[in-house]
Symmetry: C2
Subunit: 166 residues, 2 copies
């Protein structure tokens, strides 16, 4: 099996966020996709080891901030390479409140979802979320994972589905 | 809710294929993502109305051909805007046999998967597939859905999760 083939799949770059007992938390993710059109539902894959996973299970809600090419790339590191267990990741990241959920302000769009189903795998939970609210935030080109790799020269954190040990 | 926000999610362009009682069939899809890294699993969302859906349920296997920017855009129409119910879509599309599954030859990479789980929604099945085989086919930039829309000027077929009535 040639794992380089996996790298040909296309993704965006997102922050998936929710509440941790009144404190905003979240993590960087690229495995997000729309599943149904009407009602609109979105699937997102989150590693069991990500602190955000348990928080979503508890609140039953999550938001997706869609990062753009002009979003501060520091956001990806803040939300991707540190744990919400010991860091308040939204400290120092401008936050909006949308339908009672925390969203990254420096993003091109957001979606707020309510968990309606989930599928467990060996390492990740796939949450299916019904979209409650969605809107544009700024006029920007959505950042693709390829752009993040090739232009920003970013890497995959160890909990990402797309992680390949070097 | 502003549905334009949904259009900011990033995808690739794929042909999801399998067997229909010895005849190769498949459909165009954009909702494909990797879920776990080891073992590698892939999720794909297929509309209940797509003939390919029932064929995957029957065979328990599917292949994903990852289209590139230089893949013949006619493939997208052949597999996206006609039904495998009344058309042999692989007639006239060069086909490879990989781990006993039919794959589109004019693609940049392929994955062959065995269904290990699935999640049902109102209109789509999300199949979770364990990757059995994967390889590169040609050196090309994977086609993103944005490229398909903006450069090839393509539209969403009615069964796509991303379909928005005009």
């Amino acid at each position: 099996m040639n794992k380089n083939a996996f790298r040909q799949l296309s993704y965006g770059v997102y922050v998936v966020s929710t509440w941790d007992k009144g404190r905003a938390t979240g993590c960087t993710a690229n495995s997000v996709m729309q599943i149904t059109s009407d009602p609109a539902t979105i699937a997102v894959s989150i590693n069991h080891d990500n602190y955000t996973n348990g928080c979503i299970q508890e609140t039953g809600k999550f938001a997706i901030s869609i990062l753009g090419e002009h979003s501060d790339p520091g956001i990806i590191g803040t939300f991707g390479f540190r744990s919400g267990r010991d860091h308040s990741k939204f400290d120092g990241t401008e936050q909006l409140l949308k339908s009672f959920l925390p969203v990254v302000a420096d993003a091109c769009a957001y979606l707020v979802c309510e968990v309606v189903n989930r599928m467990e795998t060996s390492t990740h939970t796939v949450f299916l979320g019904k979209v409650l609210d969605a809107d544009m935030l700024k006029d920007d080109t959505p950042m693709t994972y390829a752009y993040y790799h090739n232009v920003i020269k970013g890497k995959s954190p160890k909990n990402a589905p797309t992680y390949i040990a070097e």
